[in-house]
């Protein structure tokens, strides 16, 4: 069953078309990633799906409910973690959760039980009674995730959840996301511009300038759009042998870069030319390479 089904979604801000007729589907229980640089249309897409922003054209269904017609029902299914903090700085984590829990009918013992359950997953009991403004960036983000999970949503939307965090906090948050994926059956929709974060996704959509440029599993995208590379420091005679055998290569300073169809081809080449190779390494293609090859731009550069 599809958790989210988006067809020909269009959204413009005045003269600028941010989302240009994109379509995608997210299977229930899957981990789905929208990858793209800033300005790709990721957050606009999430805000439309979260019922915050009106779409111009297209259709969206979430858990079988139609956007614009069944928004209240859709909201019951959604947990959303925004790029920015939405919790109240002057309230404690517990007070924030209590205020939001009431929207879903969670009060008293039921609310406390739910917070205890979340503590098993998030491990936030040490700062549960501290005000948000006294927490570190990573702790705040965990509190935001707790708020999104409070009512056991069926779809969790994470809009660039690790942006702006230090490396340690990013790692912590990412481990939490993977725990949620492992321990719950909920559908996760992630937007990110960090390529390493999509490697764990079941399905990746590459969004660039409001258009879907490619989609598949991370591994299939890598295989389709980027090549592993054999990097060698040559000994005398290697260039001649490669030219004789019509093997493509690029010279990069003192080394040669040979594009591979797969890692085994690299092993084969190393075996064949071992007498002419000083040293070598097989470098796996990255999602950044995939993005570069698909869009002609790097994730950092954006458009």
């Amino acid at each position: 069953m599809k958790s989210i089904d988006v067809k020909n979604l269009v959204k413009s801000y005045d003269a600028v078309q941010a989302v240009k007729g994109i379509s995608f589907a997210v299977e229930e229980g899957s981990f789905f990633a929208l990858l793209g640089p800033n300005g790709a249309g990721k957050s606009t897409t999430v805000e439309i799906l979260a019922t915050l922003l009106a779409k111009d054209e297209g259709s969206v269904t979430i858990m079988g409910e139609t956007l614009d017609r069944d928004d209240a029902k859709i909201r019951r299914h959604l947990g959303v973690v925004f790029q920015y903090g939405t919790l109240d700085n002057d309230l404690t984590v517990r007070e924030n959760l209590a205020a939001r829990g009431a929207f879903y009918g969670l009060h008293g013992a039921e609310l406390n039980q739910r917070i205890n359950d979340l503590d098993q997953l998030i491990d936030f009991s040490s700062y549960l009674d501290r005000r948000i403004k006294t927490l570190s960036g990573g702790q705040r983000r965990k509190a935001e995730i707790a708020r999104a999970l409070l009512h056991k949503p069926r779809v969790l939307m994470l809009d660039e959840p690790t942006t702006g965090l230090d490396p340690k906090s990013r790692k912590d948050i990412w481990e939490l996301v993977l725990s949620i994926k492992k321990e719950t059956a909920m559908t996760i929709l992630l937007t990110t511009h960090y390529m390493e974060e999509v490697l764990d996704a079941d399905h990746v959509v590459i969004l660039h300038e409001g258009v879907i440029r490619a989609e598949d599993s991370a591994e299939n995208l890598r295989l389709a759009y980027a090549r592993d590379t054999l990097k060698v420091i040559p000994k005398k005679g290697l260039l001649k042998r490669l030219d004789e055998d019509n093997v493509n290569y690029d010279r990069v300073n003192a080394s040669l870069h040979i594009p591979l169809k797969n890692p085994f081809e690299g092993i084969e080449l190393v075996d064949r030319y071992r007498d002419h190779i000083e040293s070598f390494e097989i470098v796996k293609a990255s999602m950044d390479d995939v993005f570069l090859n698909i869009t002609g731009a790097s994730l950092e550069e954006g458009s």
Binding site: A50, T51, L52, L53, A54, A72, K73, R75, R76, L78, V80, F82, Y84, G85, T86, L87, D88, D90, L91, E95, A99, R100, A102, F103, Y104, R147
Partner: protein
């Protein structure tokens, strides 16, 4: 759900001590000006006509009624800064993604402004009365207490609805801060406190009398000062002229509305701004 939102808004406001302080800044300024020169200035006018101790009670009740009215203006405005801030920081999106009616979310700010305005207005009234009791041994009759409580509700509802409409047009906390400064500065004039209305040109008097600030100030003075004014001997001064001079009564093109008329005017103002606000809320839906 709306109760949870109200509880959240009120807690957020009360935890921000500076926001509460600045909501009362105009009140503090009025009290300071009163102590520095307003009190002696007004006392000089009337101390020859009436006994010094009675003049003091009248003048103190005059300023306390003004302070009470001003708090029903500035507290709701200060409180509604939370709504502007929630929109500016997008914290309100956290409510919008919950299964809560958007109209209810927006209206919760208006109701909260009313609640906090009434509560702090009551505290203001209580402090003023304790002061009068301790210093002058005066205490308002019970019925006047009830009438003042009613006026606090009416006035807070009126100014909450006006400022609720205005803040729906604001996008940043900076603009709200500028508005608060402007209102805080002007309200003392618009209610005839910094400068007694009788001392202004006739055109300005009429203009100010058309504004809800002057109308509500008049309503508060009518109730707050009625007991003290009733003690002034009829032969001591022209009470009607005193009332018009001090802004106890206002003159609207020859018509001087009594308390009932002023409350009806307050209801009309409130109805106008609640209607405008509801139209804005409908527009704000995505």
């Amino acid at each position: 759900m709306i109760l949870s939102l109200i509880k959240r808004h009120l807690t957020v406001y009360l935890r921000d001590r500076w926001a509460v302080f600045f909501s009362f800044l105009s009140v503090f300024i009025i009290l300071m000006l009163f102590m520095v020169f307003l009190r002696s200035m007004v006392m000089n006018w009337y101390s020859d006509a009436i006994h010094q101790s009675l003049a003091e009670v009248v003048v103190n009740h005059w300023v306390l009624s003004g302070v009470l009215m001003v708090s029903t203006v500035t507290v709701p405005l200060g409180f509604l800064g939370i709504m502007v801030q929630d929109r500016e920081t997008k914290a309100i999106n956290d409510f919008y993604v919950a299964p809560v009616n958007r109209g209810h979310i927006v209206i919760s700010y208006l109701i909260s402004a009313l609640i906090i305005g009434v509560i702090l207005g009551m505290i203001n009234l209580l402090i003023g009365q304790l002061y009068m009791r301790i210093v002058y041994g005066e205490f308002l009759p019970f019925f006047d207490w009830l009438r003042l409580l009613g006026l606090i509700v009416v006035s807070t509802a009126l100014f909450s609805s006006i400022f609720f409409y205005v803040v729906t047009l604001l996008k940043t906390s900076n603009s709200h801060g500028t508005l608060s400064t402007l209102v805080g500065t002007l309200v003392g004039f618009l209610a005839g406190i910094y400068v007694i209305i009788g001392g202004l040109p006739s055109f300005t008097q009429t203009f100010l009398s058309m504004l809800p600030t002057m109308q509500m100030a008049s309503a508060f003075r009518i109730v707050y000062m009625s007991d003290a004014i009733s003690q002034i001997p009829a032969e001591a001064m022209n009470i009607e002229a005193f009332n018009l001079n001090m802004g106890v009564r206002i003159d609207l093109f020859g018509y001087s509305p009594a308390l009932g008329g002023l409350i009806v005017m307050a209801f009309i103002w409130t109805a106008i701004f609640v209607t405008l606000s509801l139209l804005r809320v409908r527009k704000m839906k995505r």
